[in-house]
């Protein structure tokens, strides 16, 4: 703390305070302009509301996201506040300490913004374009599948399985994403497939 500043502020304020007291006592106590600023302007005025559910636990509390800008109108939208949805039958507007801080998840410094690659033996991530990353991933998958796909087992039974590349599914993606994922994984013949139900 800057003591010098503090002292000067104190002294200046002391003077103002004394004057205020005196004025007040003499009946000149018209309410100062600053006074009305006591109550902060309501910060959600003219924001856009969007209904969502909390992505953390399985209670699935209803939330309302307040944004500047409206996605539905094709605008860029910046979420400025999130709180519980009182209309929701389960949580009735309440949220836990995680849910109440969802805004800081959306805006976390460690949100990922760009595809990255870490090359073999390297000690760093490097930016890569989506196209290059996806082309490479598809190539790696195909090469492995072509090399290790098992069409028939030793008994000659058709098994059509691929066990050298695996997929761990999420715990918070939508059912719709889950089904798209299921189709991709199973059609490729993958068996090494699990989700986070156990942990």
């Amino acid at each position: 703390m800057n003591m010098e500043l503090s002292r000067r502020q104190f002294l200046a304020a002391t003077g103002a305070g004394v004057a205020g007291t005196a004025l007040g006592a003499f009946g000149f106590g018209e309410i100062e302009a600053a006074h009305a600023e006591a109550i902060r302007a309501f910060k959600l005025v003219n924001t856009t509301e969007t209904r969502n559910t909390c992505p953390y636990c399985s209670v699935a509390c209803g939330i309302i996201m307040y944004s500047k800008g409206d996605l539905k109108k094709g605008e860029k939208a910046e979420i400025v506040h999130i709180e519980g949805d009182t209309d929701h039958p389960t949580n009735r507007g309440t949220l836990c300490p995680k849910g109440a801080a969802l805004l800081d998840f959306v805006k976390a410094e460690t949100r990922l913004k760009y595809p990255m690659v870490r090359k073999p033996g390297s000690d760093k991530f490097e930016r890569i374009s989506w196209n290059d990353a996806l082309d490479r991933i598809a190539r790696l998958m195909k090469d492995d599948r072509d090399g290790n796909f098992v069409q028939k087992n030793n008994d000659g039974v058709t098994v059509n399985r691929w066990t050298t590349t695996g997929f761990l599914a999420a715990s918070a993606t939508t059912n719709e994403t889950a089904f798209a994922t299921y189709k991709v994984v199973r059609s490729a013949g993958m068996l090494v497939f699990d989700n986070q139900a156990r942990v």
Binding site: R92, T94, Y114
Partner: protein, 812 residues
């Protein structure tokens, strides 16, 4: 959950055991406080620690982690001994009267048929006596010594209050108080709800923990009723949905199962899935399996799935082992048998057991892909973070792609909550940078792979190139398109089975529910249990009508609950054999002489006569199972087994270590501490804290403020013994790893006296890692053993052994 969050308000007694709802599910726990405030309900908490749930409980009893079965069978024994049984329910709605085959027995901790080398049972004697009429033989008088009820009584008779105290460390009088409070719920007008979570599942006998309570709830008549039920509190927002949709090694959507390689063709696959009723008149709903299975195959491969190719049955991969779960995946990786791994919103480096093994395993991959909105430890497993991730990047040849995905706020679709409600959500914010939706990423990977196969050919391209991917934009299917696929549609006009001239569903229309599905290839449905979620009435998951007649807590017009918008499973069992509510004040559905109706969608055919058709329609028996045939690997009844790492030997069966049929990979056994180990004398357990969610919120500034730094919790007694001070540094180590943490010394953990010997508990919360806003730290999984539940391979995170010592803190 058999019931819903909002139904908990109807209960008289809440038992929180194997979970900590106030801590992990605070807003669901609200309904416990409502039941307490409005109905005078009581709350019991049984836990090794005095938790946040315990802080508002009416009664708390301590228990040693990993001994829940002994406790629960002890309560059941108490209820039976004291005639606290809802007899009408037990007789009519359970298999108590079924006669079990001669030869089945239980001795020295093992059931008949154990093979030590295979660590498995020959289960052939674990079955009913089948009569000449093809049905199971029953004795309604319950006098036959071989009936399930009498076998059960004998099986649990060793779990006396004294034995419970010796095994669990729960003082006898506290156990008896709990047993007495629970036993009061055997009357038809009093009910109890069980709220549990990973405190029960994360054991090598996790499934049997849950079965024990489910059986107790049946004995008390508490399944299917308002305010009752078995309520699994799922950990993540859509882990219910991910499992419903079948994203597990051995599953198809809707709890159908993937073929194994012995099921060489469609017919042999179906032959074990006939589910013929075991008693007259019973529904045995799985008889419809083929309809759901064929509709699923048609959804996958569309026109390419034909009756001629058995709807592309061969295109499904066939299993050679029970399943390639996450533990087996890392085992294979460690053996160098895997090339690539793709992690979608999953951080296994912190979430899976034995981190040393995980790091070694990931280092052997050729490539790793992560998709996540947040930075993860897994995607940076190769990066040196000092003691928090002490690796040499130059020695790790894995190629890693870190793909940024959108988060909930920027994404659209449905999540299935613990109460089986599918709730739609809408995007409200613009994604940061180049982050993309998971749908986009999956579609981009798929279409590239498909195009490579189209261009180059390769290993069996058929299932890939023929996958039905007819979305408006193949590069990014919309949530709505996928939801309609899950629901299913008619491919040709569907005629009324009773009137072949009448069209019930026109071609191209969405089916109203799974009742319309056919086994001839004329319908699709991605996940039959979700059918009805998005039909011609629109997106039922997006419904927001909060009406709730008579405040039952059903909220039938809010969102969509699977199956067919049913809010309480087995709700037929809420009424007696004549179809009248057991408890008139808690009416759910009733029989009016012609049909079932009430506050919920009946869990039985609407015209099924109450005396004829049993309430448990998914079971071939028509009733629930106190004795289970075929499905559990470790026994038709639960039995007490110690954790693989236990501070004591098994009192009931001293020769048996852990669960005798749990899978243990070669090499992992050598990494378990001996029972009653001197080297690792303390019983550790891992858990969540309310301030954090898994490994996500360490990235969230506010949550990092509320619980900033990794710690372990110990009793004042252990602290004194080891010279550990509150807020000081400690080292905790197991046979697999070592961590450093701050010490929280608390009265909320007390030493337990088990068979005369003190057992000290060391509590280890998760949540910390080396990325994010919170202070860098270790999680418990540097220490945890690499073994899972015998039935479903959930890792044994809740009970293992460690040692602890005070250390000097890092130099500031």
């Amino acid at each position: 959950m058999t019931n819903s969050w909002t139904d908990i308000r109807n209960t008289d007694l809440v038992v929180i055991m194997g979970g900590n709802a106030a801590e992990a599910h605070p807003c669901g726990f609200k309904w416990v406080t409502e039941a307490k405030a409005n109905r005078g309900a009581k709350l019991i908490v049984v836990d090794p620690r005095f938790t946040r749930s315990a802080s508002v409980a009416d009664f708390y009893a301590p228990i040693r982690q990993g001994s829940d079965i002994a406790f629960l069978l002890g309560v059941m024994n108490y209820c039976i001994k004291n005639d606290k049984v809802q007899w009408d329910y037990v007789k009519a709605f359970t298999n108590a009267a079924f006669i079990v085959k001669d030869g089945f027995e239980y001795k020295d901790g093992l059931f008949t048929g154990y093979d030590e080398t295979k660590r498995d049972y020959d289960k052939s004697t674990w079955n009913y006596v089948i009569g000449d009429d093809g049905y199971a033989v029953v004795d309604d008088t319950l006098t036959n010594p071989r009936c399930v009820w009498n076998l059960l009584k004998a099986h649990i008779s060793i779990y006396t209050p004294e034995m419970v105290e010796r095994i669990c460390g729960t003082p006898k009088e506290k156990f008896l108080k709990v047993a007495e409070m629970i036993s009061e719920c055997s009357t038809p007008t009093k009910t109890m709800t069980s709220m549990y979570a990973l405190g029960w599942t994360q054991h090598s006998k996790g499934s049997q923990n849950i079965r024990s309570m489910a059986m107790l709830q049946l004995v008390l008549g508490n399944i299917g009723v308002r305010g009752g039920g078995m309520n699994a509190l799922r950990g993540h927002s859509n882990i219910q949905g991910l499992t419903d949709v079948g994203l597990m090694s051995n599953l198809l959507p809707g709890y159908m199962t993937l073929p194994n390689e012995k099921e060489v063709d469609f017919d042999s696959y179906m032959s074990t899935r006939g589910f013929k009723p075991l008693r007259p008149n019973q529904t045995s709903y799985w008889q419809n399996y083929k309809k759901f299975f064929v509709s699923f195959l048609k959804t996958m491969w569309g026109a390419a799935a034909t009756p001629e190719n058995h709807f592309a049955y061969d295109w499904l991969p066939k299993l050679d082992v029970p399943g390639y779960d996450v533990l087996r995946a890392f085992e294979l990786m460690n053996q160098g048998k895997m090339t690539g791994y793709i992690c979608q919103g999953f951080n296994p480096l912190l979430a899976a057991p034995n981190r040393t093994k995980l790091t070694a395993s990931l280092s052997k991959l050729k490539f790793l892909v992560t998709m996540d909105p947040l930075d993860t430890e897994t995607s940076r497993f190769w990066e040196n973070h000092g003691e928090f991730n002490d690796v040499d990047p130059s020695q790790i040849q894995t190629e890693v792609y870190q793909l940024p995905s959108t988060c909930f706020a920027e994404d659209e679709g449905s999540l299935t909550n613990s109460g089986r409600w599918l709730q739609w959500h809408w995007p409200g914010g613009t994604a940061p940078g180049e982050a993309k939706t998971d749908n986009w990423i999956m579609a981009q990977i798929y279409t590239r792979l498909r195009d490579l196969y189209r261009k180059e050919g390769g290993a069996f391209p058929d299932p890939i190139v023929n996958l039905d991917w007819s979305y408006a934009d193949p590069g990014e299917p919309t949530a709505e398109e996928l939801a309609k696929e899950l629901n299913g549609k008619a491919l040709t006009p569907l005629m009324d089975p009773t009137d072949p001239t009448k069209v019930v569903v026109e071609a191209g229309k969405l089916v109203p529910s799974f009742a319309a599905l056919r086994d001839d290839g004329s319908t699709t449905s991605g996940c039959w249990i979700y059918s009805g979620c998005f039909n011609e009435n629109g997106n039922n998951m997006a419904r927001r009508d909060t009406s709730d007649p008579d405040e039952t807590g059903a909220y039938s017009k809010w969102a969509f609950s699977w199956p067919v918008n049913r809010r309480i499973l087995y709700n037929r069992a809420s009424a007696d054999l004549n179809g009248k509510a057991w408890d008139p004040s808690r009416k759910l559905i009733e029989w009016d002489g012609q049909k079932w109706s009430g506050y919920d969608v009946p869990d039985i055919a609407p015209t099924a006569k109450p005396q004829d058709v049993g309430p448990f329609i998914m079971n071939a028996e028509g009733v629930s199972r106190l004795f289970v045939v075929g499905m559990m690997r470790d026994g038709p009844f639960p039995s007490h087994y110690e954790p693989f790492e236990s501070p004591v030997t098994n009192l009931i069966a001293p020769k048996i270590r852990g669960n005798p049929v749990a899978r243990v990979f070669k090499g992992d056994f050598a990494q378990f501490a001996e029972p009653a180990s001197q080297e690792f004398p303390y019983a550790a357990t891992s858990y969540r804290l309310t301030e954090h969610f898994h490994y996500w919120t360490k990235h969230v500034w506010v949550n990092a403020v509320l619980q900033p730094e990794f710690f372990v919790e110990i009793s004042e007694e252990l602290a004194k013994e080891k010279g550990i001070v509150k807020g000081g540094w400690v080292r905790v180590w197991s046979k697999r790893g070592s961590i450093k943490a701050k010490a929280v010394v608390t009265k909320r953990i007390k030493p337990l006296i088990c068979d005369g010997k003190p057992v000290h508990v060391v509590g280890i919360p998760l949540h910390w890692g080396f990325t994010g806003a919170a202070k860098k730290g270790f999680g418990p999984n540097s220490l945890t053993p690499f073994v899972g539940d015998a039935n479903i391979e959930t890792p044994e995170y809740k009970a293992f052994l460690v040692n602890i010592e005070p250390i000097a803190g890092p130099v500031a």
